[in-house]
Symmetry: C2
Subunit: 194 residues, 2 copies
């Protein structure tokens, strides 16, 4: 049988190349971690629609006197997959978690549909990020374009206030995410009162 | 520099081992393909909540005289990730595609919510599968337990009729899935009339 010769260096290269290929595919995709431009301007995650869907609501309003809405919007919440898996293990959110809240307009009585509502065009995209680079550890973004600066202190004050006082787990409304609520209950990470 | 010797067979083994490691991680996870017991009884995909979310609706009814519902249910639709990516490239569904339709009860005016509805407990899980093992190429399942037999010809007749006459792409209601609708329009896979 024909023999081939390799140097140690050549073998090391081959193993390193194979290993990096495997690592590249088993680690969380690099697109999952928050990407920023200009320090703290969040780049809209291009593939958030392939992230893990947490839940959706229709026409949810937190004001005591909600507006009557002719066409209420759906809110779909997505989280990056590696943070989701971490939550399922621990009931807590790791640093670098991104929540994308996508609002879609709704319609009814189209095609074969006779009642109820279904989702249509994109209305808005917002994000909440847990990242230690922010003084508070969390930040909110209105993702109107490809990237967005964090909401100003004045604009985000009511968000922070509500996401601190009324959330079931950390600064997230796990009480509205039924599959996560079960996990947080089991892991004992719900705030008192939930 | 110290030399090592390898036979061609040894090298081939090393390359094959590295290659299979890479393949195992890049191919669709084995849990994605439909699993059956007793030939055609579909096993409920354990991780469908991590699949790609297509859309959701609230209280959708296809009957001309819908029931008034005190507590309408949300319907969340998930598809296995590799089939989703294939659709985004082609506007068509590959063989072995699984759609999971999850129904959840809804609630309102809980916690800080004052109007609109959010999702709560699981109400039902159904599946539609495109698989050439079925005479028709497609099958419907009521996934009440860990696995389920295909719906009987009599029970599925109205499903098949509606999913043939009224669907925008193949046997799927892409007209209610806004992100897929755009793709099908671009790829020219919408049925006439859409």
């Amino acid at each position: 049988m024909k023999k081939l010769s390799f140097t140690i260096a050549g073998l090391a290269f081959l193993v390193a190349a194979a290993s990096s290929l495997v690592q590249a595919q088993s680690a969380a995709p690099s697109s999952e971690a928050p990407r920023y431009v200009k320090g703290t301007n969040l780049v809209r995650p291009p593939d958030y629609r392939e992230w893990v869907f947490i839940s959706s609501g229709l026409g949810m309003d937190y004001n005591p006197t909600p507006n009557a809405r002719e066409s209420p919007s759906f809110g779909n919440v997505f989280v990056n997959p590696s943070s989701y898996r971490s939550f399922m293990q621990t009931g807590k959110w790791p640093d670098k978690t991104i929540f994308v809240l996508e609002f879609r307009n709704s319609d009814s009585e189209a095609s074969i549909n006779r009642s109820g509502r279904f989702q249509t065009s994109l209305a808005a995209v917002e994000a909440e990020v847990k990242d230690s680079r922010f003084p508070d550890g969390w930040a909110f973004f209105n993702l109107r374009g490809d990237s967005a600066e964090p909401m100003s202190a004045a604009d985000s004050a009511p968000c922070i206030d509500c996401h601190t006082k009324n959330t079931a787990v950390e600064r997230t409304f796990v009480q509205f995410y039924p599959t996560l609520l079960e996990v947080a209950r089991r892991k004992g990470t719900l705030k008192p009162g939930f």
